[in-house]
């Protein structure tokens, strides 16, 4: 084994004593500075992850609640009334409550879980570890980034408990619905809190993103040229760039909306008669908000997806014991996706009355994204081809990611084509599409990452039997839930219909809705099992005994099993090669820290 070059095996110590061993001039750590207001990127990553997990449980629970309504609209669940009072009068979820639930489900999962929880966790954890830095460029801003996220979380959480309930205008928060207090209960205080929370979230995301970018650009260790970086880091880099360029636009959209709500401006409002009241606003454009929103909203999809793609590339390569196929093409396609992400936002607006010519331009640009996506898929397939694959739970989740990305990506070709979008827009088809490609796929990427890097985070393994059960139930469940849902969309059933009994065209999927609800409950239960496995294993999991348990090339596995603040004992290792030298010249793997041998073949 050659990976032990820079490892000090005697540092396999317990948690309590290890800060004594780090003599690189770090100040004395207290509980508060170590676990709460920590500036260690690894701790901040864990904070993001654990907060993300808590949010995921809440957001997932919301979906179980509204699935109950969708599957059993005629049945009453008295227990709901016990918990939610007038929101579930007579054990039936009330429409305001239903819309509050879907809005919170979307907001929480898109922003708090799959943005903060996913890139917040892994960008923080992996960037310094994989590029060979002691910490982020600015550990203090990094800490602020988490605490702004925490504040945003508190504000959002509080909106669930106020009398008029949380925001209920859908996670996209389109005005005028979201701008008018008269439009419904959720449009009162709940929406203001939603906007404030999002503003805080955007601050958090910008602080994080700027830090990730400057760290990657400036703090790479000796020899770590940009093209020697693992694809995870490239993915995090493009994610951060997307976030930094697009989140401010959402902020402006949100602020204008706050003005319209509270200061009497008319950015989005014109010609409105609501509940018999004629409003004075004239000259605003409701569609303006949609442009601002989707200018973030579409890149946001890739902010969610790119880190998952990066981690999947890394994990597939490590576990098939084979280099990632077409590193430069992978990088190029990440770049192409990042650029195109900014040029396709109006495909969410084909039926808003958009100029048809403009629509056709967006069709072209949207379908263009399928090219880099296809390259990535084929490259992952070729990475598996003639490998020697180890099915760790992380590998299975990575394979599941590719499967879901294919399925969900292909339905994107339907929706990106404006002609078909006329029929499928805002139907259950859209719900099925983005849940597979953005929701479940990114979750799979995240799970793959958690299973793979858990040993690095906590020095222990997750229980892999529970991991396998987790994977298989989630995989089968995800397809059972979302595959047939496409048919509901093809039948024209609109999104956000909590009860279809009043309709003759949409009322023939009763059995299917029941099935989907039951499967969602099972899948949710299995996620709880994962959460249990996660917290149990932090304290009681099997201990990691070797610094490089997966036999991987990247730098994070050259640190001690439980690295302290500063990551490496002594010098930061120097890098001599790209991270994907697996199966080269008959050797299982060659870490990045190993100098290129004289007789080594070129790649």
């Amino acid at each position: 084994m050659s990976e032990a070059l820079h490892v000090h095996p005697e540092v396999i110590t317990t948690h309590e004593v290890h800060h004594d061993e780090h003599g690189h001039g770090h100040h004395q750590e207290t509980f508060i500075s170590k676990y709460v207001f920590s500036m260690d990127h690894k701790t901040i990553g864990k904070q993001f992850l654990i907060t993300g997990i808590i949010w995921a449980v809440i957001g997932g629970l919301f979906s179980v609640l509204f699935r109950l309504q969708l599957g059993y609209p005629d049945q009453s669940f008295p227990i709901l009334e016990t918990f939610f009072g007038h929101w579930a009068k007579g054990g039936q979820i009330q429409p305001e409550f239903y819309y509050g639930l879907v809005t919170m489900h979307g907001t929480v999962l898109v922003f708090f879980v799959l943005t903060a929880g996913l890139s917040g966790t892994f960008a923080n954890l992996l960037i310094p570890l994989q590029i060979g830095a002691r910490d982020m460029a600015s550990p203090f801003l990094n800490m602020l980034s988490y605490w702004f996220f925490f504040l945003a979380s508190i504000v959002m959480l509080s909106s669930i408990f106020i009398h008029t309930g949380p925001a209920s205008g859908g996670w996209t928060m389109y005005p005028p619905l979201s701008a008018l207090r008269q439009a419904g209960e959720g449009q009162r205080l709940g929406t203001d809190l939603w906007l404030i929370s999002m503003a805080l979230f955007i601050v958090s995301s910008l602080l994080g993103g700027l830090n990730y970018i400057s760290t990657i650009l400036n703090l790479r260790t000796k020899g770590m040229s940009m093209t020697r970086m693992p694809l995870t880091i490239w993915a995090m880099f493009f994610t951060a760039v997307l976030g930094v360029l697009s989140f401010p636009v959402l902020l402006s959209g949100a602020i204008l909306l706050l003005f319209d709500r509270n200061l009497g401006t008319s950015f989005y409002l014109s010609d409105i008669v609501i509940n018999g009241e004629i409003l004075p606003n004239e000259g605003g454009s409701a569609i303006l908000y949609q442009h601002l929103f989707w200018f973030l909203g579409h890149p946001e999809v890739y902010i969610i997806l790119l880190p998952a793609m990066g981690m999947v590339s890394e994990i597939l390569s490590v576990n098939s014991r084979k280099p990632i196929f077409g590193y430069m093409a992978m990088l190029g396609s990440l770049f192409a996706i990042a650029i195109l992400a900014f040029l396709v936002w109006a495909h969410h607006m084909f039926v808003t009355g958009l100029n048809p010519f403009l629509g056709s331009v967006f069709v072209l640009l949207t379908l263009l994204i399928a090219v880099p996506s296809a390259i990535k898929v084929f490259n992952w397939l070729t990475t598996l081809w003639r490998g020697n694959i180890r099915f760790a739970p992380s590998t299975l989740f990575a394979i599941g990611f590719v499967s879901l990305f294919i399925s969900g990506g292909l339905t994107g070709i339907f929706l990106g084509n404006s002609t078909i979008d006329i029929h499928l827009h805002d139907t259950m088809f859209v719900v099925a599409h983005f849940h597979i490609v953005m929701g479940v796929a990114s979750f799979f990427g995240m799970f793959a990452g958690v299973y793979h890097w858990f040993p690095k985070m906590f020095g222990r393994y997750l229980n892999s039997t529970l991991g396998y059960i987790h994977f298989w139930v989630t995989m089968v469940g995800a397809y059972l839930i979302f595959w047939p849902m496409h048919y509901q969309g093809l039948a024209g059933i609109p999104r956000r219909y909590l009860d279809k009994r009043g309709w003759s065209s949409f009322n023939n999927f009763t059995e299917l809705d029941k099935m989907i609800t039951i499967v969602s409950i099972i899948v949710f239960a299995v996620q709880l099992m994962f959460v249990f496995n996660f917290f149990y294993s932090i304290f009681k999991g099997r201990k990691v005994t070797t610094p490089n348990p997966w036999g991987a090339n990247t730098l994070e596995w050259t640190t001690p099993i439980r690295p302290g603040h500063g990551n490496w004992e002594g010098e930061i290792p120097e890098v001599h090669r790209w991270p994907y030298d697996y199966a080269k010249d008959g050797r299982d793997f060659i870490p990045q820290t190993e100098p290129v041998g004289e007789h080594e073949s070129k790649h």
Binding site: P176, A183, I272, N275, I278, S360, F391, N508, Y582
Partner: protein, 348 residues
């Protein structure tokens, strides 16, 4: 009680699973981790293959079971184009789906870890990468080409002889306005909206084009095989005119009128026969989240022959007379161009 029961079962199942999982971890350590890992590797490899096969059967079964429920043939000329585009895309993407999913799971199964094999060092191949850049690009060009061609047909200008109907969404229902004999919708202004004063649409009565406009709610009548142009608006928040059977959809935005046009191909009566459903109706659904009543914002469309439509229209009274009863010829019995009407307008 039932809920409690389910929770208890879940908890119990979880406990058992957890115990087994812990036990298998200990067993693995005892039996030698390497051996245990290789065994689970084989199991998972097999499961991946099984997932592929059962999954593909599932895809077929799902299609057999659900394809009969997706509305049937499109009921408008544009709908035919939309469906054609849908099936072209479906054919192309399904081939890609099959190839990639089979490759994914087959490779996973075939190249699972084995002591007999060494992984193949294969970092890149420019020719291969070129092939799978160019082929998707060509396929997508085809899709974009068809898509844009149909898109311009559908979103192009409505034929000159189209009938015009104004559709307005509000929380939570639909209002319709027909232009009357002159074929012109009169001007309106939102500050004139006054349902109590007989002016729910906010029509400007000093515009003579308004004097014959017919207003109604919840039900719209269209003529079969006659193009119709919908002028769409909203009073309060954004709604969306969703016509699933016609495969048409357009947002209703307050302050920004939108339009769409299509030609209905079958009368409601014909659809009843075609679908074998005696209760068939064309439904107009709101497809854009608009508040707590969103899911119930339903309108009905009746497609009928020209003769039936004319007879129905003859029973309607212009809103002008409802708002200004003193001008109503049927009340004053003077000779105006319009026929005397006895029926009260309402449209329900």
């Amino acid at each position: 009680m039932q809920t409690l029961f389910i929770v208890a079962i879940l908890a119990l199942g979880f406990l058992i699973t957890f115990q087994i999982a812990k036990a298998s971890e200990y067993v693995a350590v005892l039996r030698g981790e390497e051996r245990a890992r290789k065994q689970t590797n084989r199991i998972n490899g097999f499961l991946l293959l099984a997932f592929l096969i059962i999954g593909l059967i599932g895809v077929y079964y799902c299609n057999q079971k659900l394809k009969g429920k997706i509305l049937g043939a499109p009921a408008s000329d544009h709908g035919i184009l939309v469906d054609r585009m849908l099936y072209i895309t479906l054919a192309l993407t399904f081939i890609v789906f099959l190839i990639t999913q089979i490759a994914l799971f087959w490779f996973s199964y075939k190249y699972q870890e084995s002591d007999k094999r060494k992984a193949y060092y294969y970092p890149h191949n420019n020719k291969l990468e070129m092939i799978w850049t160019v082929i998707p690009a060509i396929a997508l060009t085809i899709l974009v080409g068809f898509g844009i061609f149909y898109w311009f047909k559908i979103t192009g200008d409505a034929p000159k002889d189209s009938m015009v109907v104004e559709v307005v969404g509000k929380q939570f229902g639909w209002e319709f306005r027909y232009p009357g004999k002159d074929g012109i919708l009169g001007k309106k202004y939102f500050k004139n909206v006054d349902p109590a004063g007989g002016n729910p649409a906010g029509q400007l009565w000093d515009d003579p084009a308004n004097h014959d406009d017919i207003f109604m709610e919840q039900e719209m009548h269209l003529v079969v095989n006659k193009p119709v142009k919908l002028v769409i608006g909203a009073k309060d928040v954004i709604h969306d005119v969703g016509l699933a059977h016609f495969r048409m959809k357009m947002d209703a935005v307050p302050g920004t009128p939108t339009t769409m046009w299509f030609t209905p191909l079958y009368t409601t009566k014909e659809m009843k026969e075609k679908t074998g459903n005696p209760d068939f109706v064309y439904e107009l659904s709101c497809d854009q989240m608009c508040g707590k009543g969103h899911y119930s914002m339903r309108g009905v469309i009746v497609v009928e022959t020209q003769a039936e439509f004319d007879a129905w229209m003859a029973g309607k009274k212009p809103q002008y007379y409802t708002a200004n009863p003193d001008k109503d010829p049927s009340a004053k019995k003077d000779t105006m161009a319009t026929k005397p009407l006895a029926v009260v307008a309402g449209g329900k």
